[in-house]
């Protein structure tokens, strides 16, 4: 049978079609659902009320990340916040009652849900993966179709292992050329969001392609896919290749022996065929990129580190102008002021965007031999137990601690401040996370998103700093 050239997305979509009822959304099979404490309790409750079970408990993996304190193991064992504690206990009980494998607070595999899927080898190319969390797009870095869903949908997947879905459109973003010194995966994705806007990819699945994407490590690819949702995309995907296979080989849930070879053969058939047509394409010249940083309260409000806070006249529409005006006020910034002059009170290195080993290595390189500015509170929160252990084995924890950073236990931490790690009103933070919404890191807190290297440099100097000029 000959078929016309197809995209990576179309192949994965097609392989998961259960039914296409006329006049209704397609029923899509879901290979894996990841579960965390915040968006699951009402789903389990719904099942109980309806007398339903999980159709495939073995296609579920659960952990705790959003609510767990990251200060110390002791604080995690006895959680002071009673409502958070109740939510974690509810997940523990729900997993036991419904037969879901659960990586509890002190399990050696605990971590941010989007970290542990890949680390366990549960995330693999060609799969469909969902989670009640918008940054599920992260898993697309492996060539999986992965997207965030709401709690009713979580319940739907639990009960049926499927989801009714309308077919998204396809959007390829080609990033070609070699990245200049000091420019990272984070800068690529911030630049893209700045270019197309926070709703620029709404209704699309984005495939990131081109030599600059292929040159990235799996960690860098995850950083890119992670923030697809910040451009409104349903999902982000990157074609699996030798790097993907090398990352997965030998992981706990990866196939072995003959099954491994068969899996690699299947995965190798997934990349977009030559000549396949996308609904939309965008080309980006990687050689022209600079380190990016957000200045406002939406990830699309982005500029380069050597730039200025944009003028009101830079806003593209009336609605954007209103957004800009509000952002100047909330962020306490004047249009036209130099980005490098912005001083920070806090630095947060972590999250499912940049809490991986490679991120910590890059930041440690900047930090080594320096000390955190006296005006800055800086913390490193490894994204998972696995990353924490690896970093400690490499001595990165010592570098950070000597420089005056706090070295924390794994979790979401100050990415969203649902746990004790929050900014005080008016405090300004250089953060490697993915959202700079009003109050995201604590009510009244101000967030600047940037790469781990730039966050590390800001911690040392006390202001946003161009890492390209960094002297050892």
């Amino acid at each position: 049978m000959s078929t016309s050239p197809r995209t990576l997305f179309e192949k994965v979509w097609h392989q998961h079609l259960v039914a296409e009822p006329v006049g209704e959304p397609t029923i899509l099979y879901i290979d894996l659902q990841l579960v965390h404490e915040v968006t699951s309790p009402q789903a389990f409750e719904g099942l109980r009320l309806a007398g339903r079970k999980l159709r495939h408990p073995e296609r579920h993996i659960a952990t705790v990340d959003h609510n767990v304190p990251t200060t110390s193991v002791q604080d995690r064992l006895v959680i002071a916040d009673q409502i958070a504690d109740a939510q974690i206990k509810a997940l523990r009980k729900n997993c036991a009652d419904f037969g879901v494998e659960f990586f509890d607070t002190e399990d050696s595999q605990q971590g941010i849900v989007h970290m542990i899927g890949p680390e366990l080898g549960a995330t693999k190319p060609g799969m469909t993966i969902v989670c009640g969390d918008s940054h599920t797009s992260t898993h697309g870095a492996f060539g999986a179709l992965a997207f965030g869903i709401g709690t009713s949908e979580v319940e739907h997947v639990m009960a049926t292992q499927t989801l009714p879905q309308s077919k998204p459109k396809t959007f390829r973003i080609n990033v070609e050329g070699e990245l200049p010194f000091g420019v990272t995966a984070k800068d690529i994705i911030l630049d893209i969001i700045g270019r197309i806007g926070t709703d620029g990819a709404t209704g699309f699945v984005v495939e990131y392609a081109g030599s600059a994407i292929r040159a990235l490590s799996m960690e860098g690819r995850m950083t890119i896919c992670n923030m697809s949702i910040e451009a409104g995309a349903r999902a982000g995907m990157i074609a699996p290749d030798e790097k993907t296979f090398a990352y997965l080989k030998g992981r706990r849930f990866s196939p072995t022996g003959a099954a491994w070879d068969e899996a690699v053969a299947h995965w190798s058939s997934l990349p977009t065929d030559e000549g396949a047509i996308f609904d939309r394409e965008l080309n980006i010249d990687a050689t022209k990129l600079a380190p990016s940083v957000t200045w406002g309260t939406s990830p699309g409000m982005v500029t380069t580190i050597d730039g200025i806070v944009p003028m009101l006249t830079d806003a593209k529409s009336d609605a954007d102008r209103k957004g800009f005006e509000r952002a100047y006020e909330y962020m306490d910034l004047k249009p036209g002021s130099k980005v490098e002059d912005i001083t920070v009170d806090a630095v947060f290195l972590g999250s499912c965007t940049n809490g991986r080993i490679e991120d910590l290595r890059a930041a440690a390189k900047i930090v080594s031999g320096h000390h955190v500015a006296t005006t800055v509170r800086a913390m490193v929160v490894p994204g998972s137990q696995h990353v924490k252990k690896q970093a400690e084995a490499e001595g990165l924890d010592a570098i950070f601690k000597t420089a005056g950073f706090e070295w924390r236990e794994p979790g979401c931490s100050m990415c969203l401040g649902m746990n004790p790690d929050i900014l005080a009103p008016g405090e300004r933070c250089a953060s490697t996370s993915n959202r700079n919404f009003e109050g995201r890191q604590g009510r009244g807190g101000r967030t600047h998103l940037l790469s781990p290297e730039m966050a590390a440099a800001a911690a040392i100097t006390g202001h946003l700093t161009d890492v390209r000029n960094w002297k050892k």
């Binding site: 259960v18 039914a19 009822p21 006049g23 209704e24 959304p25 029923i27 099979y29 290979d31 894996l32 915040v38 968006t39 309790p41 009402q42 073995e58 296609r59 959003h66 409502i83 958070a84 109740a86 939510q87 080898g121 549960a122 693999k124 060609g126 799969m127 969390d133 918008s134 965030g148 869903i149 709401g150 709690t151 009713s152 949908e153 739907h156 009960a159 049926t160 009714p164 709703d199 709404t202 209704g203 409104g232 349903r234 849930f253 196939p255 099954a259 068969e262 899996a263 299947h266 939406s298 699309g300 529409s317 609605a319 954007d320 957004g323 649902m418 959202r435 919404f437 109050g439 009510r443």
Partner: protein, 210 residues
């Protein structure tokens, strides 16, 4: 879900783009394990002001706190409403506060789907039409808007009339108050057949066991 067809109500104007789910319901309320009781937390950080001691006061300037907008069942905002986190709590809070419909030029994907699951009608109108309605509802809090789902129209008593598009399946579910799981299970034979094949494709298994 309660079936819904026609809705006539005053409307609350929120003339801002990119209103994200963190604003709709801040994270501290996501720790609850219940599915109800979110109405008091809707737009919490905008509805209240907070002093250094942690005291909370109602913010009289925020539109939801203005008595003339009490009881409104329609919310109007600018583009990309509901962006950000996937929290369905945002849809619960909007719904439980008493809103049955939101009008905006565009909505973020996940919010769009969450709203549908909670029987909230999302109406997409052109930026110009949204602007008109925002202005009328701001100038006159008594300004009434009618949304008719069957006819897919938005009208008011000053001659405003706009047609909106809605996916026929979503319309059918809203009109009849249908639950999704039940609908999917109508296709269980196909699901069984699919799994019969698919579960042998070990590359699809999250946990490979030799």
């Amino acid at each position: 879900m309660t079936p819904i067809n026609e809705l006539t109500s005053t409307a609350v104007p929120l003339p801002l783009p990119n209103i994200d789910t963190d604003q709709i319901i801040p994270k501290q309320f996501l720790k609850r394990i219940e599915r109800t009781g979110y109405e008091d937390f809707l737009f919490y950080d905008w509805r209240y002001t907070f002093d250094a001691k942690g005291n909370t006061t109602t913010n009289p300037d925020f539109v939801l706190n203005k008595p003339e907008y009490k009881g409104s069942q329609i919310l109007i905002a600018e583009k990309n409403f509901g962006c950000g986190s996937s929290r369905e709590h945002a849809a619960w809070a909007i719904n439980q506060y008493g809103f049955l419909a939101v009008i905006a030029p565009t909505f973020a994907d996940i919010f769009f789907s969450n709203a549908g699951k909670n029987g909230i009608i999302l109406v997409r109108l052109s930026e110009a039409d949204v602007e008109t309605l925002l202005q009328r509802s701001t100038a006159n809090p008594q300004h009434k808007i009618t949304i008719n789902l069957e006819a897919q129209t938005v009208t008011d008593d000053q001659g405003f009339r706009a047609h909106f598009d809605i996916d026929p399946f979503r319309k059918h579910c809203l009109l009849n108050g249908l639950d999704d799981i039940g609908l999917t299970l109508l296709h269980e034979d196909k699901l069984d057949a699919y799994e019969e094949r698919h579960n042998k494709e070990f590359w699809s298994a999250p946990k490979y066991a030799a």
